[in-house]
Subunit: 328 residues, 2 copies
């Protein structure tokens, strides 16, 4: 697409995107990287505004993420959660003591009238990050997931046959509380019709040498980013410069429920299924060597297909993938 | 007043009241004790609802208070505050990691629609307290303090002589942030005209064998309790059964700025000044041996005066004082 972009905009979810961004800031000057991050996963809990994907991106690029858990901070302590448990409070969403400070700070700044993008920039600056981290919007955006009723709830169902209605829950209720172990029948994004992309989002997309769709869940990570009015259109206008990285490798999600969710929502859980979703938006799909045999099927959707090693074992592998994405 | 009350209602602020309550639950069955606690000190910070006096009462009676600081929990850790400092967040109001759980729980319960009194009862129950801890009101009540301009702000003053206007601040801004080291020219309670005492407050006052006014700051701890519509009247109706304990001993507050504040607001910083404030409400004032010489002046205000040791060095001393108060 280009011979090395001067600026890159990365549409980002959580873990997979954060790793690619770790590579991006090694493959080019960090200040030339703009992450446009999903906030459909955001949750208000205990009065705090929690932005899991923004935090995963910041903590990961700052090399402060806990490497085993893949979320939250390394060397974390859990005093507040232990005490909250004693009260019978809501503890399924684990908040470490140091991590809590991020939410306390963000919530206070927003109570003071700062938009989420400002609070995010301040948080990134405190972690001494040079890349730009933008929430896709400062307005409210929430991913709602319709899940099948739980088997044990059938007995309490209202219907004569003991069936209960499907349940629409918040993303975190599905992802963390139910541990994404329940089938999904629908996904919806709550977003005001007059919601706008955060300042800088459209400019970053329109002016980037390369627009990257990170290897995040296409439905619940990239989906909400594209659902903000104006974003999908901007990406589509840049189609020839848009490079998506498949989050599906060998028919499986590297992390999380993307494969199952694709299937449950009627898509093929493969790089071809991903290509069909992204073909209207992205000129190129980067797939893993494991899926080389499917390159032709990907190209049949109208996308260029690039095959490389997409498994980001470490920062060096992430840098190599980022370099590849920037030079397709 | 009585020969041992079957129930007692204690109008309470923070530390002094909490110590007396520690004695009360030793001097009589704890379930017969109702603490009616000031919430004028409450503060919203980081999105959390913080009720310092309620927490001091609960933590103290639960013997979980930090004995050196006099606030917060013993064996506390400070990870969240350390991390918040890194963000440049608001850290003058110190919140320990375990203490944070109390605020997280309270805020979530209130977001769920529970009144403050319900959240408080749940918190007290989690600490296995048998006494009843009631916020004086579930409605908004906030103490506002007018403080003299700071000397260094004179240069920024709007007047030609460099004087700046006095500054009205929240109670915690005055008490914690300015470390109650600035002169006070006025105190005001923000309370809706239709604010009501929390469920149980008026009943406790009207049916108690003894109503106790704890040795708390009369202006900023007891003042807000009496400012809730209906409370002052109820206490006045029980005047002959109301026993106040002077927070001033030998002309000094045992803790906090009560002596200075009394003087700054035109009251005498002595047991006589306290008697003049409480005479319309309380039949009896308990003063310390140190003030025995002023007993006649106290009685001249129309109150009975009881002289005893009021310094609550430990739980035994608090129990002895409580016993005395219950049997004046």
């Amino acid at each position: 697409v280009t011979g090395g972009a001067s600026h890159v905009a990365v549409l980002a979810g959580g873990v997979g995107a954060a790793r690619l961004l770790t590579g991006m800031v090694r493959a080019m000057p960090p200040e030339a990287v703009t992450a446009i991050v999903n906030v459909g996963d955001d949750i208000e809990l205990h009065g705090l505004h929690i932005s899991p994907d923004l935090d995963t991106v910041v903590y990961t690029v700052a090399e402060a993420i806990d490497p085993e858990r893949g979320w939250g901070l390394r060397d974390e302590t859990w005093q507040a959660m232990a005490s909250l448990e004693r009260y019978g409070g809501t503890t399924w969403f684990r908040l470490g003591d140091q991590d809590l400070a991020t939410h306390l700070f963000r919530t206070q700044r927003m109570a003071d009238g700062a938009p989420l993008s400002t609070a995010t920039a301040e948080i990134a600056a405190a972690w001494k990050l040079a890349l730009r981290v933008l929430p896709v919007t400062d307005d409210r955006l929430r991913t709602r997931v319709t899940i099948a009723p739980e088997p044990h709830s059938a007995a309490n169902g209202s219907g004569p046959g003991g069936f209960s209605a499907p349940d629409e829950v918040s993303f975190q209720e599905y992802f963390v509380h139910r541990q994404h172990s329940v089938p999904v029948s629908a996904v919806r994004f709550e977003c005001d019709v007059d919601a706008r992309p955060a300042p800088g989002v459209l400019e970053a997309i329109m002016t980037a040498g390369v627009v990257v769709i990170a290897p995040s869940n296409p439905i619940v990570s990239i989906g909400p980013v594209l659902a903000v009015p104006g974003v999908r259109n901007a990406v589509r206008q840049r189609r020839e410069s848009v490079v998506a990285v498949s989050p599906i490798v060998g028919g499986k999600a590297l992390k999380g429920p993307a494969d199952r969710m694709l299937r449950e929502l009627g898509h093929e859980p493969s790089v071809v299924g991903v290509a069909r979703l992204y073909a209207p938006l992205a000129g190129t799909l980067v797939i893993d060597e494991a899926d080389r045999a499917l390159a032709g099927d990907v190209e049949a959707t109208g996308m260029h297909c690039v095959v490389t090693d997409t498994i980001m074992r470490d920062a060096e592998a992430a840098k190599a993938l980022a370099h590849h994405v920037l030079h397709v």
